[in-house]
């Protein structure tokens, strides 16, 4: 149903929405912070995955239901 990538995106979405509502009031500042956190988390995750790519992998990750 959900892939590992989609779960990462969902997690980043929840966390970035939460901190946006917690820390910013103005609409413009909210959008700015949301994009910073969301893209930072998703992009950072992909970057780390890319950096780890050459390393030997373990057994394949199980498929999510």
């Amino acid at each position: 149903m959900l892939s590992h990538f989609l779960l990462m995106v969902l997690y980043a979405l929840l966390v970035s929405l939460f901190f946006t509502l917690l820390w910013r009031r103005g609409r413009r500042e909210q959008i700015q912070l949301f994009l910073q956190i969301f893209l930072g988390m998703v992009g950072g995750g992909l970057l780390v995955a890319w950096l780890m790519y050459p390393f030997p992998s373990g057994p394949p990750a199980p498929l999510l239901p």
Partner: protein, 141 residues
């Protein structure tokens, strides 16, 4: 210099200090028990509802993925911290643990993800408690 507390006209002191925004004990307790309720009590209705939805969605996704709802494990001191973090979600923790007898599935494919979602829900609500505390004391809008 006369302090306001020593003036005969000042109201008697109580542990539950009432600030202009509301009662600090009620705000903090309600914020802990039900995610977002502290903000609703402090007349931040929309924000409170949004926080409620975010925390509950996080918890529900965590349960759907069969994540671990932490509890204290003897000999593992870090489990105390994780349990406190999870308990931060308030009523949902006790409902899941004692009402629905929820237990994660360590063999489940989404176990680690689910654990992260559940713990995050608790930690989010802990931040909401601090936010309600700041609002009630007038340190935050």
């Amino acid at each position: 210099m006369a302090e306001s507390g020593s003036s005969p006209a000042s109201p008697p002191e109580s542990k539950a200090v009432a600030y202009p925004q509301g009662n600090v004990v009620v705000a903090v307790l309600s914020a802990w028990l039900v995610p977002g309720l502290g903000h609703i009590y402090l007349k931040r209705r929309l924000r409170g509802i949004a926080f409620f939805v975010l925390v509950i969605v996080s918890v529900l996704v965590g349960c759907r993925l069969q994540g671990n709802l932490y509890q204290v494990v003897r000999g593992q001191p870090l489990s105390i911290l994780a349990t406190l973090g999870s308990m931060g979600m308030g009523f949902p923790y006790f409902l899941l643990r004692y009402g629905l007898h929820y237990q994660g599935d360590i063999m489940g494919a989404g176990y680690e993800y689910g654990t992260a979602f559940l713990l995050t829900g608790g930690l989010m609500n802990l931040l909401l408690i601090l936010d309600a505390w700041d609002i009630v004391r007038g340190k935050k809008e």
